[in-house]
């Protein structure tokens, strides 16, 4: 989810939730991340995002690499521009 407290603020990534459909994603986002009185919140499926500069970006592929397999930077074969992950 992305949210902002005031109209003038930037949208910030505030967290993730797991939901079987868009309607429940909206409900869970609003009810789970209620730590602030948000001016606006928006939620999108992970598959809506495309990696821009990393070939194995955790955010777009579904999470951090398994323990013991190094950092994302170690796994990048080509730093900088690479093939975007499938969304």
């Amino acid at each position: 989810m992305f949210a902002r407290k005031q109209r003038a603020d930037r949208f910030e990534h505030v967290g993730t939730i797991t939901a079987p459909n868009r309607k429940l994603a909206r409900v869970y986002a609003w009810q789970t991340y209620d730590e602030a009185k948000w001016f606006e919140m928006t939620v999108a499926p992970r598959t809506a995002f495309s990696a821009v500069n990393l070939t194995q970006a955790p955010f777009t592929l579904g999470g951090a690499p398994p323990m013991g397999q190094g950092s994302v930077a170690d796994n990048d074969s080509t730093p900088g521009y690479g093939t975007p992950a499938e969304s």
Binding site: P20, N21, K23, L24, V27, Y28, Q31, T32, D34
Partner: protein, 275 residues
């Protein structure tokens, strides 16, 4: 404050005796239903199909208790002692639905309460949005704002379960069990209580119109369960309401009430013994 077509009543004291009595009955029923529905939601904070669903049940439980508390406090102006209402009544004195008398044992049954019953209560609350009874305006708006997430939760989960035969069968049984209680909650066609409140400008539509609004709201999602069909763009219930055992004052089945455990939790018995 919004202008109304009839003279507004700025306090309960200004209401004529019959409207005062009838509105008091409706508000007590709404408050008890919200209190007990909150307890039913809270039963599923742990044990829901996902962590997020459990968090949603927690949020909905808190919402309903808050709504119940707001309405109970209004009942002071209708001759009730809010503290006595919340802590001292017997099970038979509660005006909440028979659907809420005890815990439900499955997620589809919880969805029957969430999607069907919670929506039925909200539709009745909507009837108060343009009420001539002005103290209720702001409270109703705030309450309905939170209820939209309850509807989306119920609708989202119902749609999810409808995608499998097993889910659909389970929903079909649970929703069929709850259906009659929801249909008759709005009252019979010429319910004298609702008719009087409509005539007095306290609620906006009669029992049949409210029932139709509820059917139009839930119909599209449950259309494959054999409970509704469409006629002239409206959703119509397949089963007709069965009024046997209906209590027009309790607004529920005349027999029964919250079970012992639910009553103790609603009244806070175990904790109040420490005070």
């Amino acid at each position: 404050m919004t202008e109304t077509t009839k003279s507004g009543f700025k306090s309960a004291a200004e209401l004529p005796d019959d409207l005062h009595s009838h509105l008091g009955i409706l508000l007590l029923s709404l408050a008890d239903n919200k209190r007990m529905l909150g307890i039913r939601y809270s039963d599923w904070i742990l044990g829901a199909p996902s962590v997020e669903a459990g968090i949603a049940c927690s949020a909905m439980a808190q919402d309903e208790w808050g709504h119940g508390r707001i309405i109970y406090s209004m009942l002071k102006d209708f001759g009730h002692d809010p503290a006595a209402l919340e802590h001292e009544r017997t099970s038979e004195e509660y005006r909440s639905s028979e659907l809420l008398d005890c815990d439900v044992s499955s997620w589809p049954e919880l969805l029957a309460l969430n999607f069907l019953w919670d929506t039925a209560i909200s539709v009745q609350v909507e009837m108060l949005l343009e009420s001539c009874f002005e103290p209720i305006h702001y409270k109703v708006r705030k309450l309905l704002e939170e209820e939209r997430f309850h509807f989306d939760h119920g609708s989202g989960w119902t749609s999810r379960l409808m995608t499998s035969d097993e889910g659909k069968n389970a929903l079909g049984k649970a929703f069929a069990t709850a259906w009659n209680a929801c249909l008759r909650w709005f009252g019979p066609e010429n319910d004298p209580l609702i008719e009087a409140l409509v005539e007095g400008g306290i609620v906006s539509t009669n029992a049949d119109c409210a029932r139709m609004r509820w059917l139009n709201r839930v119909g599209p999602t449950v259309r494959d369960l054999g409970l509704v069909y469409t006629e002239n763009s409206e959703w119509v219930s397949e089963p007709t309401p069965d009024w046997n055992g209906w209590s027009p004052v309790r607004r529920r089945a005349s027999e029964g009430g919250p079970d012992a455990d639910s009553l103790a939790r609603a009244r806070g018995d175990r904790n109040r013994s420490l005070l």
